[in-house]
Symmetry: C2
Subunit: 190 residues, 2 copies
DNA sequence: TTACTTATTGGACTGAAGTCTAATATTTAT
DNA sequence: ATAAATATTAGACTTCAGTCCAATAAGTAA
């Protein structure tokens, strides 16, 4: 578990940063599928093997880069916020939809990669899908303790329904906007 | 629009059939991503170019093969069936889930291909996604005329929610079973 | 300084998707 | 029979992902 059990040349943080920066920039400029690993490495000024030393696939690199860029990428709604749960959820969804509108190509590509590559699926699910699913589950449970969402309902299940609703729209390349956020609220929350 | 405007060697129906058969068999045996176009062609006993003359990608071929295999692949529920709409929907979903349980790898791969390849997305959406979405939309509208589903609700929107629910489960490699079908019914139909 | 360890680099190599072409085969129209 | 049109075949070629390796660089421990 030590970062360095013995000596040896340290991993270049500069190379890592350059790779992540180049990956995001090129993918945004040209589209995920138009950017090859070789071009990302060249643009970052490092050898291809250096990229493979850090990430197994382009998807792993891009996921990592996205995370680093946006610590606050659609942050979880505060569970201390005293406004109505419907408002909190709507605000959260509207936020997520903005990010998906900006980064839709990338997110669709990552979801696709997770279908093709089992190892990436596991990473993506653990690092991205599940945490986000839990954000809404937690919000629904909060709403239940407040009496704003029926305690009879299964929060996990409903969170899955909500995510399914916008995944389906995303994957079929339909717009994700504030109207759709409101439609979700009124479907599941009333 | 003529099948043959003038003369010329006709397309070999036998080659088409052999390619579709080989594609399904190999994909089921080895998994979608482990089967190359070259191997499918070799197994079918035709040249690779003959495959490309018919389909642009492996995804197009497999989609076609799936359609041919199952004309009755999760057929639309009969709109003349007089049983309660909940029963019709539950039966339909259970059917779909059985097929997705058997062909989940293939379906996930096709959805992934639609994310990577815009042209295939359009084909897949028009030939597969939209018709299936309409089956549930139509069923919900029938339920509305029967007074079994509130006329206030937007059938198209709810159909999208239902599809989203099981797409999300499918793409995250969770089981699709009769319990989940019932959970969907009670969420959206009551 | 020297030995050891690990990272980086550049290049070779394989397998697959996809494009292209020349030669050949199979059909219809004359 | 011959010409015209289209399909099939085999193979060359490019690009990319992914693997592997030997030489070199950059650290740590003695």
């Amino acid at each position: 578990m030590n970062k360095e059990s013995t000596g040896g040349r340290p991993i270049s943080a500069q190379a890592s940063a350059a790779l992540k920066e180049a990956a995001l920039r090129l993918v945004r400029a040209k589209g995920y599928n138009k950017v090859s690993i070789a071009v990302i490495a060249k643009e970052a000024g490092v050898a291809r093997q250096t990229l493979y030393n850090r990430w197994n696939t382009k998807a792993d690199l891009v996921l990592d880069a996205l995370f680093e860029e946006a610590q606050n990428y659609a942050a979880a709604p505060s569970l201390n916020d005293t406004r109505d749960s419907r408002v909190l959820l709507e605000e959260f969804l509207t936020n997520v939809f903005h990010h998906l509108t900006d980064n839709g190509d990338m997110m669709r590509a990552l979801i696709a990669a997770a279908q093709i590559d089992r190892a990436f699926h596991d990473t993506f699910y653990a690092k991205f899908v599940l945490p986000r699913d839990r954000m809404i589950t937690d919000l629904l449970r909060l709403a239940q303790t407040r009496g704003e969402f029926s305690s009879d309902r299964n929060a996990e299940l409903v969170s899955g329904f909500i995510h399914g609703a916008f995944w389906y729209r995303l994957l079929n390349r339909k717009a994700l906007n504030a109207d759709f956020a409101r439609a979700i609220i009124s479907e599941f929350f009333d």
